[in-house]
Amino acid sequence: MSIDQTTIDEHGLNADEYQRLLEILGREPTMTELGIFSVMWSEHCSYKSSRLHLRRLPTEGPRVVQGPGENAGAVDIGDGLTAVFKIESHNHPSFIEPYQGAATGVGGIIRDIFTMGARPIALLNSLRFGTLDDPATRRLVDGVVAGIAGYGNSIGIPTLGGEIAFEPSYAGNPLVNVFCLGVAKADQLAKGVASGAGNPVYYVGAKTGRDGIHGATMASAEFDEHSAEKRPAVQVGDPFMEKLLLEACLEVMQTGALVGIQDMGAAGLTCSTSEMGARGDVGIEIDVSLVPQRETGMTPYEIMLSESQERMLLVARQGREAEVEQVFEKWDLHAVRIGEVRDDGRLRIRDHDEVVAEIPNRQLADRAPLYNRSTERPAYLAQAQQLDVAALAAPAALSGTWLDLLRAPVIASKRWVYRQYDHMVRTNTVVLPGLGAGVVRVKGTGRALAFSVDGNGRYCYLDPAEGGRLAVAEAARNVACAGAVPIGATNCLNFGNPERPEIMWQFAQAVDGIAEACRALGIPITGGNVSLYNETDGQAIYPTPVLGVVGLIDDATRVLTRVFPAVGLEIVLLGDAAGELGGSEYLTLAHGLVGGRPAAVDLDRERALQTLLVDVARDGLIGSAHDCAEGGFAVTLAECCVESGGVGARVELSGPGGPDDRFLLVRALFGEAPSRVVVSALPGTRDRLLARARALSVPATVIGHTGGERLAISVAGVGVADIGLVEAEQAWANGLTRYFEAAVA
């Protein structure tokens, strides 16, 4: 049978790539081989557009136990333990079928973690949608949140929240990024490596169906009005099956009878067999007729490309098969031996006795296409950055704007979302969702891990490099606000079509920014995910790198949240008095604009600030810490008070000139800038706190006291904004919920 040009095109291989395939095989491919090359060389699996750039990210550090290249990264957290974590996107499937798309995203990232031999202990997510006035967006949000909840709750891993933002740019292409954290003993980390000729290859988990064929290829193309027709390429999740797999796999790893293990995620059996073989520099031979199948009449092509969920590939030690099989039998799972490891370095796929594919393993991996795509600074940038924010009219009533910001869905309470997630199962949750970074204790150690996922598409749109730096700084700062030392990071890079030079420029810039900030803050990237082609009808999303940072706290009882713990405490602002309006939430809310430039981060000062936060949290000098993010200082101050049980605040700002300089006032209240944190000093600690700050050259100003039933800000003794705490809480509590609860009533 000869392969025609149409078939090659349908498989997304260009002329060069097909030529390369012919060179590797030395002949025309079979259909199964064409399918295998197609998925393995898709953007999603090969990172062909991004690999070159990802090399610039710092991946090494004293704590790194496993860097990029495995199913997830791992960092040392002491006591012989490692934190294993990764973030991944499921953007395209979630747009087509929100519940299952999001659910299987959660399932996929959990498999990545337990495949490493780690017990998953927490989930976070980072979500982007269009604006909530659109009913279609509300349906998407409802479905995605329910899907995340449905999967995480059932499998019993707490979802500690994350972040969610709404922006017209994501209306046709929402982002669903999910992060999972696990803990493993350092000497028991498992790898996705095959070795030892003659060792048996096992398939375990759900049966293979026709679902998700070419999911990886779908994730490597843009959307158009026909995208809804791609629904068959979205898989259906079964968290119960995954729960059994999770327990059984962790149990079987304890036997020592395993050589390697890998989950079947994107590109299913194809990816797991070829990658395990390539990593171990061995061949793998399997017989697809032995693969458990959910449907009849499936072809080898379909079996190899299926993305049915909840499936694992294992390589066991010869002679110890019974131990492996016994564990799976206990969990009513059946480990099926489908092949074995060979020493010929070839991926050989048989259908009974007929060889339907035979590919040199290493070449499939090593000779994957790698593109240095052209880059060009986008035309929109100059104009967008030029916006003269100083010329815009300041609002007449700052108090009203303050309340409006608290009501903005991106700032308002996310309770409607996170109370759908079981966030307490496994009894490790030290900080509940909505109070700051997620924090879980590590049982048996007295320590805790804090983690945060952050990224601001607006900042990146206006300045991708600065946006990359800011994302790293913010995620690390959130972790430091909890009292944790940032020790590792993972990233999910969501961008448009890399074949467009201006998108590739955004990507390259953002990677540079991330790399620079990670180096400066001493936080290695241990893995992650790239999601490209996030476009609908030629309209790309804002460039959106999302950073997940993990931090370590030595004493789980010294964890801090955003909430003022008592009345009568002195409030201290660490960092500058005013922020910038470029790319701010204020600018969008008050003027309907996205423009200007985000404030630049001084990485030395950021590092000093984070060092200070960890020190003063550990030594018990402060009672709370909350960074100034979207909405600026005023919103941060309000967030320190809401859910505090009635603790208000009164502050006096001396920095921003007089009360009549409206522009400076707006910048002081609502301007956004990095390296700014509001802390409350515990009684009698103020002087030590200020001295420590001075020693690290971190600006620190005592600005007021906690207490009272109002939130009041004055400048030079003149009140400039004043709202009731109850009023603020109501605005904040209902800002997001109002879009959903009305429909339920």
């Binding site: 119960f240 729960k243 997630y421």
Partner: protein, 230 residues
């Protein structure tokens, strides 16, 4: 004394109950696999929370057929203390060891949050260490926790003082606003007529240490220890 933590496929609060019994209370604890036919000499049986068999059918509907449930029933019939938490409560209802049913939450969404419950009766092995009217801050995490029973059943269990926990405000006042899921008569937990089998939707095992935000749940498990040590 020894706690048996029954593990069904899909149980996911099994480790939490085990940790609370063993590491917080310092008692013996053992996982009992659902295919087991022996309780290994346990003094207290815990059916933990989770999604047994994925809860793809009615919650708890398949787990009640697990081999271990025959032993659990015998243990209960002989007066042994049995507690079902969340999904475990649902299993006990399906098994007929407790009366009533749990419907979808009235707002149809899964709910995870801290709630307050008021202890109504203290003559059971899981409430004997508490005081009548004591308010406990406990987490809930369920999609189907809306307690329902026929009016005559509710009247009967009320008359028999079988309602052990009611959702309430922090001050102990029962109101519709303090009822998270629409449960009839704000019922959060009940016992059987013999008072040794208890089921509740909130998770006392998740509230045994102050580092987790509440240690109010300890009294439930400590009651069992006290009841059996006397």
């Amino acid at each position: 004394m020894k706690f048996a933590i029954v593990e069904f496929p899909g149980s996911n609060c099994d480790h939490d109950a085990y940790y609370a019994a063993k590491h917080v209370l310092g008692q013996q604890a053992e996982f009992i696999w659902h295919k087991d036919t022996d309780l290994h000499g346990a003094d207290v049986v815990v059916l933990p929370g989770g999604f047994s068999y994925g809860d793809y059918l009615r919650t708890g509907a398949i787990a009640r057929f697990s081999p271990i449930m025959t032993r659990v029933r015998e243990f209960a019939d002989a007066g042994g203390p049995v507690i079902g938490i969340c999904n475990g409560f649902q299993v006990l209802l399906e098994a007929g060891l407790l009366e009533g049913a749990l419907l979808s939450n009235r707002r149809l969404k899964f709910l995870c949050q801290h709630v307050h419950v008021r202890v109504e009766q203290t003559d059971t092995p899981f409430t004997c260490g508490a005081a009548v009217g004591q308010v406990l801050k406990l987490p809930i995490a369920h999609g189907e926790g809306n307690y329902y029973a026929a009016p005559e059943t509710v009247a009967a269990i009320e008359a028999n003082r079988q309602v052990l926990f009611r959702y309430c405000a922090a001050d102990g006042a029962v109101s519709d606003a303090a009822n998270p899921n629409g449960s009839l008569a704000a019922i959060a937990g009940v016992c059987n007529a013999a008072r040794n089998v208890v089921g509740l939707m909130p998770h006392p095992e998740r509230a045994c240490e102050s580092v987790l935000g509440s240690a109010d749940g300890r009294v439930v498990l400590e009651s069992a220890v006290a009841a059996l040590t006397v």
